[in-house]
C-alpha cells in the first residue's frame, strides 16, 4: 500500500525519514493538570506526535494512511486513528480490496476489538457503493454479493482461528452483512453446520431463530413444524441441552408467532420418551419435566403441573427455590380460577333451581 521510498524508510524513526521532513511533530498537551509520571515507550510518542501534526494539517495522503497503521499497531482501540484511516481511504480512492486483506489480521488477532469490526462494516458498505456507482446493474450486484459472501466466510474463519464460536462482535458483524445485503435466505446450512459441531452453541441457536424470523415472518404452520422438528431432533441426540429446549419455547406458549403448548402432541410425546429413557438410565432430564409442566398448565391440568414442579424441586435441587416459586405462582393463578369456577357453579345451581322453581310454579299458575 505504501509507496516505494516509504518502504525503504520503514525501519527509521519518523524524524529521520525523508518523506516526513516537512512535518513538525506536535507533542501532547497535557492540559492544566499534567500527570507527570506518564511517559510513553519508544516509538509510541513519536508516532502520536506525527499523527497529531497530520490531523492539524488535515492531510489525507498515502503517508497519512501509512501512519494510521502505525498508530493502530500501538493501540488498536484508538478510534481516532481508525476514523482518520477511513478518511484517507475515501479521499485517495484507494482500492478497498487491498484494505480488506490488510485488515484481515487485525480482526483475526483481536476479535474482541469493536473498532476493527466497525471498520470492516464500513469497508464492505463502501465497496458496495463504489461498485454500484462504477457500473450500475446486475453485474455490480453480482460483485457485491460476492464481497458480502466472502465477508461471511471471513467471520467463520475468525471463529475457527480463535476457536471461539460465541464472540459477540463477530456475530453482530455477520447479522449486519446478512441484513444489509439480504442474504438471510442462504443462512440455514451454515447454522446447521455449526450446530452439528457443537449442539450446545447458544449463539448459533440464537442466530437460527433470527434467520428463520427474517426468512419467513409471520410463521406458517409448516415453518413452525419444521423448526419444532429440528429442535426435537437435537433433543433426541442430546436431551440435557438448555439451548434446544429454549428453542422449543420460542415457538410454543403465549406470544407473537407462537402456538399453545397443547397444539404440538409430538412435543409431549418426546417429553415422555425423554423422561422414560432417563428414568431407565437412572438419570433425569429437568428440561423435559419442565416442558411437561408447561403442557399441563396449558391444558388446565393444574394438579398434574404441580406434580411436575414437585419432581423438579427434588431433582433440580439447586433451583429448588425457583421451582417452588413457579408452583406458588401457579397456585396463585389457580385461586382466582377456582373462585371463578365456584362462582360459576353457584350461579348455575341458582339458575337451575330458579328454573325448577319456575317450572314447579308455572303449572300451578296455569292450573
Amino acid at each position: 500500500m505504501a509507496t516505494e521510498p516509504e518502504n525503504l524508510e520503514d525501519d527509521l524513526p519518523y524524524s529521520q525519514r525523508e518523506s516526513w521532513k516537512d512535518i513538525v511533530p506536535v507533542p501532547q498537551n497535557d492540559g492544566p493538570h499534567p500527570l507527570a509520571v506518564i511517559k510513553y515507550p519508544l516509538g509510541f510518542e513519536e508516532v502520536h506526535n506525527y499523527f497529531r501534526a497530520i490531523q492539524q494539517r488535515n492531510e489525507t495522503s498515502q503517508r497519512a494512511l501509512h501512519l494510521t497503521a502505525d498508530v493502530i499497531e500501538h493501540n488498536s482501540a484508538n478510534y481516532t486513528a481508525w476514523y482518520y484511516r477511513r478518511r484517507c481511504l475515501k479521499d485517495l480512492g484507494i482500492d478497498l480490496e487491498d484494505e480488506r486483506i490488510f485488515t484481515d489480521k487485525w480482526a483475526r488477532d483481536c476479535p474482541k476489538n469493536y473498532q476493527v469490526w466497525y471498520h470492516r462494516r464500513w469497508l464492505v458498505s463502501e465497496m458496495a457503493t463504489r461498485a454500484r456507482s462504477r457500473t450500475p446493474g446486475p453485474e455490480a450486484e453480482e460483485t457485491i454479493q460476492q464481497i458480502a459472501k466472502s465477508e461471511l466466510d471471513y467471520h467463520l474463519e475468525c471463529m475457527r482461528v480463535n476457536s471461539d464460536y460465541k464472540n459477540y462482535n463477530g456475530w453482530s458483524h455477520r447479522q449486519f452483512i446478512l441484513q444489509q445485503f439480504n442474504l438471510w435466505h442462504e443462512e440455514l446450512p451454515f447454522v446447521e453446520q455449526l450446530l452439528e459441531e457443537d449442539i450446545r452453541n447458544n449463539s448459533a441457536w440464537n442466530h437460527r431463530y433470527t434467520t428463520v424470523r427474517h426468512q419467513s415472518w409471520p410463521f406458517t404452520d409448516s415453518i413452525r413444524d419444521r423448526e419444532l422438528n429440528f429442535a426435537m431432533q437435537a433433543i433426541r441426540k442430546c436431551a440435557n441441552n438448555e439451548c434446544a429446549w429454549n428453542y422449543l419455547s420460542a415457538f410454543l406458549g403465549d406470544g407473537d408467532g407462537k402456538v399453545p403448548w397443547t397444539s404440538a402432541p409430538a412435543v409431549e410425546m418426546l417429553c415422555r420418551e425423554v423422561v422414560e429413557v432417563a428414568t431407565q438410565e437412572g438419570t433425569s432430564c429437568c428440561f423435559a419435566i419442565q416442558a411437561l409442566a408447561n403442557i399441563h398448565e396449558a391444558k388446565g391440568e393444574i394438579q398434574a403441573a404441580l406434580e411436575q414442579y414437585e419432581q423438579l424441586k427434588e431433582l433440580d435441587r439447586i433451583r429448588g427455590k425457583y421451582w417452588s416459586w413457579r408452583a406458588a405462582s401457579l397456585r396463585g393463578m389457580q385461586m382466582p380460577a377456582l373462585f371463578a369456577f365456584l362462582l360459576l357453579q353457584a350461579l348455575l345451581r341458582r339458575s337451575i333451581c330458579d328454573r325448577r322453581r319456575r317450572q314447579r310454579k308455572a303449572p300451578t299458575a296455569s292450573r
Binding site: H33, I38, Y40, N202, N206, E242, D254
Partner: protein, 378 residues
C-alpha cells in the same frame, strides 16, 4: 471471622491500587532505561517488543473504570476513603482530574473522552464525596452525556464515533445522569432531561429475546447475556419504566434468570457457559429489580428464586485466601471480579435473614451500582 475476611479483601484492593500507581510511575523510569539500552530492550525482549509491552500498559482503555471497581469495592467493604487523609486518596483524585478532557473524562490522561470513563468519574466523585472533581458547576458533564444520545433513543460511547447504540452505553448514560441530578429532583420520577424517555424505554424493552433474557441490541440481533440483561433492566428501572413490561415478558425473564444458577451453586451468564463470580451481580441485581417492581406476582425475593447458601459457598471458593475474588475457583483474583463478585455476594447476603456475610458487606443499590448508604449524598 467476618471482619478478618473484609480486612483481607481490603488489603488485596490496597495492594492492587498501590501496584497500579507504582506501575504508572515505573513506566517513566523504564522508558529512560529503554532509551539508554536501545539495542537490548527490557528484560531481554528486544526494543520492539519492549516498546509494545509498555504501549499495552499505557494504552489501557478502562483505567478509570478499573479505579471505580477498586474504590467502590472498598466502600462496599465499609471503607470510608473520603474522610481519610491518605496518599492513595490524593493519587486517586489527581488521576481522575488528569483524565478530564473538556466536559468528559478519558480512561487515561493520554486518551480521548468517552462515556464509560465519564460515568466512572461521576461514580468516583460520589464515593469519594468530591463533587468538585467533576468541575461540573455548569452541568457540563450532564450535557456531555446527553450529547451522546442517538436518534433512536439509545446512547453511544463517543461523540461522532459512528458506533451504534448499545444497551451498556444506554444504561451507563442513565446511571450517570441519575447521579448528576439536582438534589431537589432526587427520586423525582422520570429522567426528564433525556430526550423522549419513552422511546429509550422502548429501545431497551426491544432487546428482550425469545428466551426471556436481553441482548446488547434490539430485535434478536444479539444473544441473551446476563450483563446486558442487567443493563436493560437497570436502565428501565432508572427511567421508572419496568412496569411497561408485560406479565408474559416478566415471567419469561424470571425463568431465564432462575435458570442461570448452575450445579455447584455459581451463576453463569449465558446458557451453556461456565459459572463465573461476576455473573452473581448481573443476575441477582436483575432479579432484584424485576422482583421488586410492581406487578410481579406472587411477590418474591432473591431467596425465593436462588439457592443463596449454595451460591455463597461458590463465592467462598472463588475468593482467594489472600483476598480478592477470582472468576472461577482456583483462578487468580482480579479487581473486576472482586468488585462484581462482592457486589453480588452483598445482594445474596442481604436477601437472607441470617447470612453470616451480611455484617461485612454494605447493601448495594441494584441500579446505581453503589453502596446504598452513598446514593443519598448525590
Amino acid at each position: 471471622m467476618a471482619v478478618e475476611r473484609a480486612q483481607k479483601h481490603l488489603q488485596y484492593l490496597d495492594a492492587f491500587l498501590a501496584r497500579g500507581f507504582k506501575t504508572l510511575h515505573y513506566l517513566d523510569q523504564l522508558r529512560a532505561q529503554l532509551s539508554e539500552s536501545e539495542t537490548t530492550g527490557l528484560f531481554g525482549l528486544g526494543p520492539e517488543k519492549s516498546g509494545k509491552l509498555l504501549a499495552a500498559c499505557v494504552a489501557e482503555t478502562s483505567l478509570l473504570s478499573a479505579l471505580y471497581w477498586v474504590i467502590c469495592a472498598g466502600a462496599l467493604l465499609g471503607r470510608n476513603l473520603s474522610s481519610e487523609d491518605s496518599e492513595s486518596l490524593s493519587q486517586v483524585l489527581h488521576l481522575v482530574r488528569s483524565c478530564r478532557k473538556g466536559a468528559g473524562f478519558a480512561p487515561h490522561p493520554s486518551h480521548e473522552p468517552d462515556l464509560l470513563s465519564t460515568v466512572s468519574a461521576v461514580q468516583l466523585s460520589v464515593i469519594l464525596k468530591r463533587p468538585e472533581i467533576l468541575e461540573d458547576g455548569t452541568g457540563a458533564t450532564r450535557k456531555y452525556i446527553l450529547s451522546l444520545q442517538l436518534p433512536d433513543g439509545s446512547f453511544t460511547s463517543r461523540i461522532g464515533s459512528a458506533e451504534e447504540g448499545d444497551c451498556r452505553f444506554t444504561f451507563a448514560a442513565l446511571c450517570g445522569l441519575s447521579l448528576l441530578r439536582e438534589p431537589g429532583a432526587k427520586d423525582g420520577g422520570e429522567l426528564e432531561e433525556v430526550r423522549d424517555p419513552a422511546m429509550v424505554a422502548e429501545w431497551l424493552l426491544n432487546c428482550q429475546n425469545l428466551d426471556g433474557g436481553f441482548g446488547c441490541r434490539p430485535k434478536g440481533e444479539c444473544e441473551s447475556h446476563a450483563g446486558h440483561t442487567f443493563c436493560c433492566l437497570a436502565g428501565l428501572s432508572l427511567l421508572q419504566m419496568i412496569p411497561r413490561m408485560t406479565h408474559r415478558s416478566r415471567q419469561r425473564l424470571i425463568r431465564w434468570l432462575g435458570s442461570r444458577q448452575c450445579e455447584g451453586g455459581g451463576i453463569n451468564g449465558r446458557p451453556g457457559k461456565k459459572a463465573d463470580a461476576c455473573y452473581t451481580w448481573w443476575t441477582l441485581a436483575s432479579a432484584k429489580l424485576i422482583l421488586s417492581s410492581e406487578g410481579s406476582s406472587p411477590s418474591a425475593t432473591l431467596a425465593d428464586l436462588f439457592d443463596l447458601p449454595a451460591l455463597e459457598k461458590f463465592l467462598e471458593e472463588c475468593a482467594s485466601p489472600d483476598g480478592g475474588v477470582a472468576p472461577h475457583p482456583g483462578d487468580d483474583p482480579d479487581p473486576f471480579h472482586t468488585f462484581f463478585g462482592l457486589s453480588g455476594w452483598s445482594l445474596a447476603a442481604h436477601a437472607q435473614a441470617d447470612a453470616s456475610t451480611k455484617g461485612w458487606l454494605q447493601d448495594m443499590h441494584a441500579s446505581l451500582v453503589l453502596p446504598v448508604g452513598l446514593t443519598g449524598t448525590v
